[in-house]
């Protein structure tokens, strides 16, 4: 059943574009830290500019979401599911913005140049400091696991709406109709 209330085309476009980018980013990230193969250099060269692109899009998306809002959840949704939906979305938006900033900060604290492409690089946003680097570096890893787990939960919930509840929540983001 499709109740007809949808996210705007811009919101849906951003969602699916970013879904592909973020999943690619997580796999690139976990793949590159576990290999000595020459593909390491290719992966890390993609990881940095892709992360910054996600940061820019996530901020844009948050602005759109705050202005445009989201379709209401079905009225018959149990309170704990509604709470879970809200909490997981706050967490997703937070992580999409925090993860790139953490990556950028951790490279700054590690004294690394933050190269996007060729001569194009970003300024340092943290002081060069070993202890700070260590904290940010491990936060980047742990929050990546949290982000991946949250995305799995998000996918499971979306499929639950689509296949079991059939309440239009899935269609509000998945529909091709404008």
């Amino acid at each position: 059943m499709d109740t007809g209330e949808h996210f705007s085309p811009l919101q849906r476009g951003l969602h699916w574009l970013m879904a592909a980018m973020v999943v690619a980013m997580l796999f690139i990230g976990i793949g590159m830290v576990s290999t000595l193969h020459p593909r390491f250099l290719t992966l890390i060269a993609i990881h940095k500019p892709l992360g910054i692109a996600i940061l820019v899009l996530a901020v844009l998306r948050l602005v759109v979401r705050l202005r445009r809002g989201a379709p209401p959840l079905p009225a018959d949704l149990p309170w704990w599911m509604a709470f879970g939906a809200r909490a997981s979305h706050v967490l997703l938006y937070t992580l999409l913005i925090v993860m790139p900033l953490l990556g950028w900060s951790m490279l700054s604290a590690g004294g690394y140049p933050i190269v996007l492409y060729g001569p194009i690089h970003l300024p340092q946003i943290m002081p060069h400091d070993d202890t700070l680097h260590a904290i940010l570096r491990s936060a980047h890893t742990w929050l990546a696991w949290l982000l991946f787990a949250t995305i799995l939960l998000h996918v499971a919930a979306a499929l639950f709406h689509a296949l079991i509840r059939r309440d239009g929540v899935f269609q509000s983001m998945a529909s091709w109709r404008s």
Partner: protein
Amino acid sequence: MIGLVVSAGAAAFAYTAGWFSPNRLTPERMVDALGRRGGDPLGHRRNHSKGICFTGVFVANGAGARLSTAPMLAAGQYPVIGRFAIATGNPDAPDATGRVRSMAVRIVAPDGQEWRSGMNDSPMFVVATPRAFYQLTLAQDIDPATGKPNPAAMKQFLASHPESARFAEWARNAPWTTSYADQTYNSLDAFRLIDAAGQGHLVRWAMVPTVGPHIVPHAELAALGPNFLEPDLKRRLAQGPLRWHLVVTLASAGDPSNDATRAWPDDRPHVDVGTLVVQHAQDEVDGPCRDYNYDPTILPAGIQPSDDPLLAARSAAYAESFDRRTAEAADYPRTPAKPGGAH
């Protein structure tokens, strides 16, 4: 159905992370192996663990600009933070046990681009691949029964790696000296310089010293005590700066780009692109090189890694070593500032 999708996603992630691949050569396994050569040196680099920082400048003469658009090859003067070290896993190793000495540099251009390079004083590297380097490292594992590496393991490694024979011969026969200052430091790995027309040039480079070697029999080094390299460097720098020429060697057709165990013939064209001026030395514990990772793939536009498989492996393993030691700062405490001291 939902469970299937979620499990498949989690399994794909775990596979990518290497959880199902116990034989995959990961940075973690590489650095673990380096730390098993006799006491994991917490807080220190896991290899080239004993070293000293230096600062200076790179004075480019402009001759490199026709080969590469790298900003620090345009005529000018660029700040350098560097490090001399011996290739050991033990920060307290006697200097006479360091067959390989190394120089690392970080050259910074005015726009913030960086060129980092870690170079060794052997004319070739000991292995050609990360896998072989891992096996070589395993062969240096300390045997708990003797407290020393098992000589049979090294014999077996050399027997199964004929490409390491050239390095082994150098290690046996090369003269020993008493100084970091008189050594030639080689990039070993190949790189590609990209010129203004977008043309690539396959190169290796070396820091060529300007002081003659002070050769001594190895037996005499022991008499100098466990630490003679750092005092020698400080003594020399107290007299004035030390200089090296940065010499770029251009490959000819057929010269290997992906095999660091094979030095290129001496008759290849050399281009002297400038002078490294080493001005001051400072102990690593409080020195400016301590918290830099001399990852050889940190390069400006105009210099690219070649297909040498060691480069990616060095980058990945150095990052792992760096991540560990920055988290272990408490194990390598800085000197507390002296009360009322002029700092």
